[in-house]
């Protein structure tokens, strides 16, 4: 067998070897063949068992794009794992690929697999506030947004089309009201976090509704939050009141509360 033939044989049998599907003789042949093979020699080296069974780092790093490219079944397995695995979730949060705080909605909606809806979301990097409005239970049910994100609008999640709207505002104020449909019970709010918080400090994002009642409280891990450091909040209510909503950041050790922004909601009747 020529080198070329041997290389072709290795290529054709690598997946089967990796999955332990070769018989003993083929296995010996494969291991011998890959001894000096730059791409496959690693398959013969012991691996740290702790690193096995977590989402590959390359996929976590490209999570948003992976949600659009990978086979639905494969990504569903990844999503499920991310939902259950604390360390993988922490890594996704570190990279700001969908930091979820479900406590704010669980009392209203219960048991919804939010993460499966979120797999492919890409938030505009420049967005200071990105609001993704969804209605429950009948997706999609979006009303015309005020301003659309140029990039990821009409993001397709799990086969459903949703709109992403971003008020064209610097951090602080949404200039125009967000129009919600009357049956909207949930929307997602993405908030860019400041980079000047002391390292190690924890913080809480608090969202106040139109009547100044606390709608959501989200505790963050210790700063710093690396860019794009976008915290996504899921806000849920049986109905959203018309009026101005406020988002504040309460940083441990800081006496003053930081304002992250305001936005107004109009409800279509």
């Amino acid at each position: 067998m020529t080198d070329k033939q041997q290389r072709a044989w290795v290529d054709e049998h690598a997946i089967a070897f990796a999955l332990g599907m070769l018989d003993d003789e083929e296995e010996r042949r494969f291991l011998e063949a890959i001894q000096n093979d730059v791409e496959f020699a690693e398959l013969a080296s012991a691996r740290d068992s702790e690193s096995i069974g977590h989402i590959p780092a390359a996929l976590i790093a490209r999570w948003d794009a992976a949600g659009r490219v990978l086979d639905e079944n494969e990504f569903h397995l990844l999503e499920q794992h991310a939902h259950d695995c604390v360390s993988c979730r922490e890594e996704l949060e570190l990279l700001a690929h969908g930091v979820l705080e479900t406590s704010g909605i669980s009392r209203h909606t219960g048991g919804i697999d939010w993460r499966s809806w979120l797999g492919g979301i890409v938030l505009g990097a420049a967005a200071m506030f990105a609001l993704i409005m969804i209605t429950h239970p009948s997706l999609p049910g979006l009303q015309s947004p005020i301003t659309r994100v140029s990039g990821p609008s009409n993001s397709k999640l799990q086969g459903k089309i949703i709109d992403v709207v971003t008020p064209q505002a610097m951090r602080g104020t949404t200039p125009e009201p967000i129009r919600l449909s009357a049956d909207a019970t949930v929307f997602l709010l993405a908030v860019n976090l400041p980079t000047d918080v002391a390292a190690g400090a924890t913080a809480t994002i608090v969202v106040f509704d139109a009547s100044s009642s606390i709608l959501s409280r989200t505790t963050l891990g210790p700063a710093p939050w690396i860019p794009p450091s976008t915290q996504i909040l899921i806000l849920g209510d049986p109905h959203f009141d018309v009026g101005e909503y406020r988002v504040e950041l309460r940083v441990e050790g800081e006496s003053a509360v930081r304002s992250l922004g305001r936005f107004s909601i109009e409800v279509e009747r």
Binding site: R7, A8, V10, D11, E12, A14, I15, A18, L19, G20, M21, D24, V38, E39, F40, E42, L43, A44, S45, A46, R47, D48, S49, E50, S51, I52, G53, H54, I55, P56, A57, A58, L59, I60, A61, R62, A65, A66, V69, L70, D71, N73, E74, L77, L78, Q80, H81, S87, E90, E91, L94, L95, T195, A199, P224, W225, I226, P227
Partner: protein, 175 residues
């Protein structure tokens, strides 16, 4: 950990190594380096952050290069034409194909509550031999291989349902 500093350091490592044609990979490589650093920091306390960043950066870059060629080799034999572009889902940016398949197999075992299969999978994916695994389980070599073969039936069905991966298991692709 000061992630701003980490990202800057990783950028300094990756930037000069990347071919101009791959410059768009820089941010993703930095992200990947951050994930690996976090994983390393979980395993043991970081005493020399700069040293660890250097090691992580080197490994991340080497793995990125390796999986680029490896994925291409895994895919190419299936195609009559060498010029056919690698499909997006096999794009090495999304990780090593073998590592992804191993993850899916393990995840299926976990979802389906197959602890015996999961244990065998973890052992084999750690590159331990069937002989070692058989001894550990107090089974014969043949019995372990048979058990593993049965274990694989379910994940193989799951993997074969993926039109992209199906041909990797010797089955025909969809037209």
């Amino acid at each position: 950990m000061d992630w701003q500093t980490v990202r800057r350091a990783l950028r300094r490592h990756f930037g000069p190594k990347l071919d101009p044609a791959d410059a768009h990979e820089l941010d993703d490589l930095i992200q990947e380096g951050c994930v690996r650093l976090l994983r390393a920091a979980r395993r043991e306390p970081v005493e020399d952050l700069q040293g660890l960043i250097t090691v992580i950066a080197r490994r991340t870059f080497q793995d990125w290069l390796r999986r680029r060629y490896r994925n291409e080799r895994l895919w190419k034999p299936l195609e009559a034409s060498d010029e056919l572009a690698i499909p997006p889902a096999v794009d090495p940016r999304f990780g090593d194909l073998i590592e992804r398949i191993e993850f899916m197999v393990l995840e299926v075992f976990q979802r389906e509550a197959r602890p015996e299969c999961e244990k065998l999978a973890r052992g084999w994916f750690s590159r331990r031999s069937w002989k070692e695994l058989a001894e550990e389980l107090g089974l014969s070599h043949a019995a372990v291989r048979k058990r593993w073969s049965r274990c694989l039936e379910l994940p193989r069905r799951v993997l074969a349902a993926n039109p992209l991966l199906r041909p990797l298991f010797g089955e025909e692709k969809d037209d």
